[in-house]
């Protein structure tokens, strides 16, 4: 049986516990990225991690669902840590938009597997009731970008447009370019980032007099 000391906050997670969880999460990501969400079974994940299925059940009492949710949460926090640092360093709205898009690109350029896994799970995973557990997070992302665009409009950096609609477009286009690169190794992501930033810049900036 699994020790039940965590809910009391008594004992910290043991070293081996942290290591195993990280190892399993990584194996799960690789599996999902390679065979897709639908074919990513516990058996395949365990096999890739080099452990037995029971080890996953043991360390993730919530089963497959907890594993996948944990994986997305972990990867998202890493991604956001990378992004927010670069976004906050900017002093203009235009800079923050460029940093948002660019830092997302640079992060995932070093973590292609994580990108593929996150996308596959975010739009493939459903809770038992059929709902999609990551809708909230996507809404928050949208709201944040919308707010930056509104700031830029107030400061005269950007022209008049529907900020919420443009936020959707920018976010989806960014994910789209990443997706294209993730599927086709030939793509030069740095070059495509420049192209996307050029596209966005011309779409949102105040028009030349």
């Amino acid at each position: 049986m699994r020790p039940e000391n965590r809910p009391d906050g008594r004992t910290r997670p043991s070293f081996i516990e942290q290591a195993r969880r990280a190892q399993i999460v990584e194996a799960a990501a690789e599996t999902v990225a390679e065979v897709g969400y639908a074919r990513a079974s516990l058996a395949r994940i365990a096999d890739r991690a080099g452990v037995s299925k029971s080890v996953i059940s043991y360390h993730f009492a919530g089963g497959k669902d907890e594993l996948l949710m944990q994986m997305v949460s972990t990867f998202f926090e890493d991604t956001w840590a990378h992004m927010s640092e670069r976004i906050d360093a900017q002093t203009t709205a235009a800079g923050r938009i460029r940093a948002w898009v660019g830092s997302q690109m640079t992060y995932f350029s070093a973590h292609r597997t994580r990108f593929l896994a996150m996308v596959a799970i975010v739009d493939g995973h459903r809770l038992p009731d059929g709902s999609r557990p990551f809708a909230d997070g996507m809404q928050q992302e949208l709201d944040a970008v919308t707010e930056i665009l509104r700031e830029g409009q107030r400061d005269g950096e950007f022209r008049a447009f529907d900020a919420s609609g443009f936020a959707t477009i920018i976010i989806r286009a960014t994910e789209g370019v990443l997706g294209r690169w993730a599927e086709d190794e030939e793509t030069d992501l740095d070059a495509q980032t420049t192209v996307l930033l050029d596209f966005i810049d011309h779409a949102i900036r105040t028009e030349a007099p």
Copy 2:
């Protein structure tokens, strides 16, 4: 046993055959749109269609794979028939880009279920060997848009940019806006289409002198 007269081209598909195939395809689309690709089993599809599982096996000898491929093919042909008519009516590259984006929007605005189903299958379905069967179609779409953008650049309608990269952005942004609408019924798709066309227009048109 199923009659084997089709390969010779002898007998045309019976009326009931056509009707059943259409009915099953529609039920499959509704099921996939509602519960997602991973949970869309033959049992659920048959149940929604109000028939037994065997009926699907009977009319789609290739099994689930043939059913899903058939569904995407059918829906894609419908979509493209709607789009190409409107695109070909345009005389300028800018018009064709607007028609591409706009007609895709108007088509799916009347076929939300089909959009959800197509997206779910296109990026969820894998062949037994693990490959993704719709990569070719997406590449063709990309090439076609790229060619329109290059025409516009030759004619001076568009400024200088990476046509292939911009094509990716335009296609993904369009799908993204559709996806946002498909998930959130509140969205006014007509308004968002206008917003997207405005975004694209500012990004690609020749700069004011």
